[in-house]
Amino acid sequence: MIIEKFFNKWIMFFLILIPTFGVIFDEPYFITLATKVVILGIAGIGLNLALGYCGLISLGHAAFFGIGGYITGILSFHALNDEMLFSWPVVVSGSSEMLIIWPIAILVSALFSFIIGLLSLRTSGVYFIMITLAFAQMLYFFSISWPNYGGEDGLSIYMRNSFPMLNTMDPISFYIISLFWLLFSIFISLRLINSPFGMSFQAIKQNEERVKSVGIETFKVKLLVFVISGTITGLAGSLYTDLNRFVSPTVLDWHTSGEIMVFVILGGMARLYGPLVGAAFFIALEQTLGSYTENWQFWLGLILILVILYARSGILGLFDKKLKHEK
């Protein structure tokens, strides 16, 4: 644990220094890549709450990632085209302000997480996996068949949404914004897992029957974890759209759910920085192996098999020598 904490501090130190590297080596692409890692790390941190800490194997987190992404895309699209989003019963226009878009993306992701959680948490095990997958796929196919917002081709927003006193088109500025949300997500997760509520959902993962027997309403606990988890992933989706200035049905596809799950498993489930490390490893692999072969995912699969067989606590678990004695 001590080594892991030390390693975590180095990760944070490194993340804070990235803009400096970008400037020194004059590599804005490096900063963009780091921003991608940070945003996907946030998505993984969201899933980690449900999957790593509560044992909810969700294959539907692409839905929340995509909802956050599409909310950002749609609001921005309407603002750029100066079109109303709704004209009845009230007039609602689009927005290109991040400070307006984020709360809406967060609220809508939370609402969808609540609805999907309410229905899917009545099941467990493989049925839960399938029902969350089904919800995400429903949204995926809906987005494909929605021509107003680009259908299968997706939606370009040309310019990043704006943030007061920052040029969001500047890679360093946008990286700082994303890093703020990463730190915020880590802070929220840390507070949650050390709270009485966190104790409840971590106990549910280990022995739900026992938790019920001490009078804790496990359904409500799981639902709230699922909503918080989905909301954080939705926020990541919103940032991802701004990063790429584009959103397409791909973000809602089950591959996205699978990738977010891979970040969590690679980095280490139920480890605060695990998804961030997993996302960094994934992107590094994509960039390095991807330049040699189109089939880089074959090697990713191989690594994933090795992690599952020999390092179940993920990459961060390798730095945790006191795992057995840790809560």
Partner: protein
């Protein structure tokens, strides 16, 4: 009726043609330890599961403290005051002994949905949990992972989890199984002390412990209560000797 805190009538459960519990009628008075004995497979644990609501009964009624709880689910029954131990130790393996007890205190102290308050800084909960660990003689193991406790220590921790809920009744399913002599003695003293606050329905195979503790004993066989009485009445009951005790008692 006023003297009864738990009153079970006509409780039956069948799996196909096999009746696990057959029109069970059993009650629990205030300040009482009521032991339920019988051979393996007689239906004792299934009866406990039906009382706590984890197994749904086919017919019958359960009244706790003059409130009909027949239609409540397992969590609602736990909240209302039924606390149990499991036949096979059921703990949170990756939590320390102290955290297991704290978990059990959460609902009663309405802390479950405290999202951002650190549990370590809740001195009241921690102090209550430590007090319970002291009662079950596990103070020196408070920071050991539950999965690393010995079998006997886990049984004690199970009882600690039940104690922490401060319930109206305890349902203890073989709490002394696997305990050494001093552990059994500790349990006997503890049960004698706690029964004045919350009576106990006790399933136990250790007949010495049963006879030392029970105010009343019921004998179950093939899902039916075949006898109920004081320890002396049960000891001298010919039918009970036939089905369970044998003639050497």
């Amino acid at each position: 009726m006023k003297n009864k805190i738990l009153n079970i009538k006509n409780l039956s459960k069948s799996y196909g043609a096999f009746k696990v519990t057959d029109e069970i009628a059993i009650d629990l008075n205030f300040n009482e330890i009521h032991a339920l004995i019988g051979p393996n497979g007689a239906g004792k644990s299934t009866l406990i599961k039906q009382i706590v609501g984890s197994v749904k009964h086919d017919i019958g009624s359960i009244v706790l403290d003059q409130e009909d709880i027949t239609d409540l689910n397992d969590v609602e029954r736990a909240k209302i005051g039924i606390s149990r131990t499991f036949q096979v130790s059921s703990i949170i393996p990756k939590f320390s002994a102290l955290d297991n007890i704290i978990l059990s205190l959460l609902d009663k102290s309405k802390e479950t949905f405290q999202l951002f308050k650190s549990i370590r800084k809740n001195k009241e909960l921690v102090s209550k949990a430590k007090k319970i660990l002291k009662e079950i003689e596990l103070s020196d193991k408070s920071h050991i992972l539950a999965s690393e406790l010995s079998h006997g220590e886990r049984r004690k921790l199970e009882v600690g989890l039940a104690l922490a809920m401060d319930p109206k009744v305890f349902l203890f399913d073989e709490p002394m199984a696997g305990l050494d002599e001093s552990g059994t003695k500790m349990m006997i003293n503890l049960f004698k002390k706690i029964k004045t606050n919350s009576p106990i329905l006790l399933i136990e195979h250790d007949m010495d412990a049963v006879f030392a503790l029970a105010d009343r004993v019921s004998v179950i066989n093939y899902g039916k209560i075949v006898a109920t009485g004081t320890v002396d009445q049960i000891r001298s009951n010919v039918l009970v000797r036939d089905v369970y005790l044998g003639y050497e008692i």
